[in-house]
């Protein structure tokens, strides 16, 4: 593996801890998105929308993205899969409204991503839009897709994130999704590692039982531990618990402030070597310190004194 294929470290992007699913046929809910405080919102044209409502939802979502202020939430759209009659029409109507990214479900292979990439590129050109600005989030939700995760992750420059679809995957594996999620352990590891290797973000699957906040908190903690950069939420009440799981540890954050301070001092003084608390620190640790500080700001911690 050479350095060139390694993209921008995922941590450099604006943190995207939560991704809130919103049924694309529910304007009553979509209008409230800015209030929920999710880092990003996923307007869903796929599973949340019945066949009869596909056309109306597509139109509604495109209109909302154009006309409605979503506040600080990054707007993404989940289109229907390439194996459905709606895939192309979804892209044709949604892309011109310029969401930040499109989530492509059921990616089995790199070709699925390239197919979406080609279509999006064509639409961008036809509409005279900036090329490549709209990203792809590839959803891996089959055993085949999981096994080809890294190839998929490298399939297109447009790719920004891998995302795990736990519901369909467990069905494909022929197992039940359990509360502790041991059946998804391998898939989670595989998705995170592929995403990290390709410099992408990685999103964990949803916690479906909205009454069970304890279960959600445990699963969100697991996602953070395993290296997911964010987790999908199926209900607005889940967002706070997800954000709480990402709250940086105070001790770690204190050290991050010291590392950043030392790094900035070293740069001013033209020193090549950084030492913090009597220990040498190198590039990846400095990068992580910067991203921790960035994360800290989301919790209102802008300096060491806030801790």
């Amino acid at each position: 593996m050479n350095e060139a294929i390694i993209g921008k470290p995922a941590e450099k992007r604006r943190p995207c801890r939560s991704m809130l699913y919103m049924p694309g046929n529910n304007p009553g809910m979509m209008q409230h998105v800015p209030a929920f405080g999710a880092d990003s919102v996923l307007l869903d044209l796929e599973d949340a929308v019945s066949e009869r409502e596909k056309d109306a939802a597509r139109r509604l979502v495109s209109h909302f993205i154009r006309e409605v202020d979503f506040g600080d939430s990054i707007v993404t759209v989940r289109v229907n899969g390439a194996d459905t009659p709606w895939f192309e029409r979804d892209l044709e109507e949604v892309i011109p409204s310029a969401p930040a990214a499109v989530r492509v479900p059921k990616c089995h292979s790199p070709e699925d991503v390239r197919h979406a990439d080609d279509l999006i590129g064509r639409i961008e050109r036809e509409r005279g839009m900036a090329l490549g600005r709209i990203k792809i989030h590839a959803m891996l939700e089959t055993a085949h897709g999981i096994e080809r995760a890294f190839e998929i992750a490298r399939a297109s420059d447009r790719l920004e994130a891998l995302t795990l679809g736990g519901q369909d995957l467990t069905a494909d594996m022929g197992v039940q999704k359990t509360r502790d999620g041991v059946e998804l352990f391998y898939a989670r590891g595989r998705v995170v590692m592929a995403a990290k290797a390709a410099g992408l973000m990685a999103f964990d699957t949803v916690w479906t039982d909205i009454e069970d906040m304890e279960g959600l908190k445990n699963e969100a903690r697991l996602a953070v531990q395993m290296g997911f950069t964010g987790k999908a939420a199926i209900h607005p009440t889940q967002i706070d618990a997800i954000h709480e799981a990402y709250r940086p540890d105070a001790g770690e954050l204190r050290r991050a402030f010291r590392i950043v301070d030392a790094a900035e001092r070293a740069q001013r003084e033209g020193k090549g070597v950084i030492s913090v608390d009597g220990r040498m620190v190198d590039g990846p640790i400095v990068a992580r310190a910067f991203s921790l500080m960035e994360l800290g700001r989301l919790y209102g911690i802008g300096q060491e004194a806030d801790l």
Binding site: M29, Q31, H32, P34, A35, F36, G37, V68, D69, I210, H235, P236, T237, D240, G300
Partner: protein
């Protein structure tokens, strides 16, 4: 103040009123602008003269007239030993009470939508040929549309209430009652009764449990309603008191007595005072509506930032949507920080009783019980205490509990950029709400937080100017929606705390503009401003606002 009524108006004689000569067409009210810029009548024939509202506590600076004691205290009615108070005939009870046309009757609303006493008594009075009565319930529940029939048929010519809803609200807003309706807060009503502003001739008080000598309580019996806080004021001050019960208890009633026998003239035994399923509704659930929960979270964050949630704090919150969810956040916070509060107040919900039983508060003061709090909690919990409406919120007594309150969370229909709150008229201008304890607790609490969604049914909640001021903006510290927190600029300290806690603080005008981008600006309702159909009293009796007749008749308002 209006304790001493000035009946010198040229075209008014109290006899005119009683004999039905009161006709709104003959009446041009002299209006004056109050400190909020609202036009309010200087006097109303049949009701008396009024002060315009100046400020929330202007009454402290004024010299108040001595209360009209002779009117407000029940006249002596000695009874011989072992006098039989019990009757099972409403007609007999009414005859013995000495009720006459033109007099004032009262009821309490503790049975809410389950109440059968108001319909039962009004029906009988109507059949007995009464007319021209003043109806003065502590409030009117949603379900009592039949009251409108009695406004129309002349049984009732004047209405004093905390609110008017449904068909009653529509009838009044359409101008079907000649005399303007007087709308007061719970504290304001207790004040008016005790001061003698609103003397009650006969009080019909539903009593879930009552013994033959009239000792009564609401905590027990099949129609258990919990506290009888509103009834207690009427029992103490009405000229004649009739306990209406379907639960005749052995003498003496035990273990608790809410209204003692010496205040009760008669005990009227009926088959049923109400529908228990609509009185005790079971514990209200915390909302799962994500918008409500976001509002609640923002409200809680502001409360936490205010620094008031400490040991010994006191708290009042409603039982509806976002409000109860605020209580849930507060509870989690108190558990985490090991905070023990002093008391909870108000309409007491099952959730608050749970907080009492789990040790989050030392005591609960209960003027009116909701959902699961209505049944046996007071018998079970010695520190779940029944208080009367005067103790709750009367500004003119020697100290009401609302004045000891730290934090209150209140709902609103709409609010304006000066933080004036409307809880009474809908977007169509029609009466549809109730003042309740809103004014009282907003004025009394250290922190009054009003919560509402930023828009409902496509109509924005923040108005340039509310249709009807029910709670003056000077007493409201913050307005909280799902889209952010608007701190009243009068509360610079609170604004600073909210900013320091990095809460989503927004200027109320900015929130208004943001919401209007989604909703547009609806047209204001059209009124016939020559015709006042209701007046909104501040808790001290000064007039906050007037409600006008809407265009159209009550059928078209449906």
């Amino acid at each position: 103040m209006n304790a001493e009524r000035n009946f010198k108006s040229e075209n008014f004689k109290s006899e005119n009123f009683k004999s039905g000569n009161f006709k709104s067409e003959n009446l041009a009210l002299t209006m004056i602008k109050n400190a909020l810029g609202r036009e309010v009548p200087v006097s109303i024939p049949g009701l008396g003269s009024y002060e315009p509202y100046v400020s929330p506590f202007a009454y402290l600076e004024r010299e108040l007239p001595a209360p009209a004691k002779a009117k407000s205290l029940p006249s002596p009615r000695p009874q011989k030993p072992r006098h039989d108070k019990v009757t099972d005939s409403i007609e007999n009870a009414v005859r013995r009470s000495g009720l006459e046309n033109g007099m004032t009757i009262s009821f309490h609303h503790h049975l809410r939508n389950g109440d059968a006493v108001i319909p039962m008594v009004l029906k009988t009075l109507s059949e007995m040929g009464f007319k021209d009565l003043a109806l003065a319930p502590s409030s009117l529940p949603d379900s009592h549309d039949m009251v409108a029939d009695y406004l129309r048929n002349g049984l009732i010519s004047r209405l004093f209430s905390s609110g008017a809803r449904g068909e009653v609200g529509r009838a009044i807003s359409a101008g079907e009652l000649d005399a303007p309706v007087v709308l007061r807060s719970h504290g304001g009503r207790a004040r008016a009764v005790q001061q003698g502003d609103m003397p009650i001739d006969v009080a019909f008080l539903a009593a879930p449990l009552c013994d033959k000598y009239g000792n009564m309580t609401g905590s027990g019996g099949r129609s258990a309603c919990g506290s009888l806080g509103y009834a207690q004021v009427d029992a103490a001050h009405a000229r004649h008191v009739i306990a209406v019960t379907d639960g005749l208890a052995d003498y003496p009633l035990r273990p608790r007595i809410s209204v003692p026998q010496y205040l009760v003239d008669q005990v009227l035994l009926v088959d049923s005072i109400g529908d228990p399923s609509k009185i005790a509704t079971g514990a209200a659930r915390i909302s799962r509506n994500p918008v409500d929960l976001r509002i609640a979270r923002n409200a809680f964050d502001l409360i936490a930032a205010s620094g008031l949630l400490t040991n010994g704090c006191s708290f009042q919150v409603g039982a509806g949507g976002a409000s109860l969810a605020v209580a849930a956040y507060v509870k989690d916070y108190m558990a985490e920080k090991k905070i023990k509060g002093s008391f909870g107040l108000g309409g007491m919900s099952g959730y608050m009783i749970e907080m009492l039983e789990q040790g989050y508060f030392e005591a609960m003061f209960d003027v009116q019980s909701f959902d699961s709090a209505v049944t046996d909690s007071m018998a079970r919990n010695p520190s779940h205490m029944e208080i009367d409406a005067s103790c709750y919120a009367n500004p003119f007594n020697k100290g009401c509990v609302a004045h000891n309150l730290d934090i209150v969370v209140l709902a609103a229909l709409d609010i304006d950029v000066d933080f004036n709150v409307n809880v009474q008229t809908g977007h169509d201008g029609v009466l549809r709400g109730a003042i309740g304890g809103h004014q009282d607790t907003a004025a009394g609490a250290k922190l009054a937080v009003v919560v509402a969604p930023s828009f409902r049914g496509g109509v924005p909640t923040v108005k340039e100017s509310v249709t009807t001021v029910c709670t003056p903006g000077e007493t409201v510290d913050a307005f909280v929606t799902e889209r952010g927190i608007c701190v009243n600029p009068r509360r610079e300290d609170l604004l600073e705390s909210a900013r320091a806690a990095r809460l989503p603080v927004k200027d109320i005008r900015a929130l208004k503009a943001e919401t209007e981008k989604l909703t547009g600006v609806p047209d204001a309702p059209e009124f016939d401003r020559s015709r006042v159909v209701a007046i909104i009293e501040n808790r001290d009796g000064a007039l906050l606002d007037s409600v006008y007749k809407v265009r159209g008749n009550s059928a078209s308002l449906r």
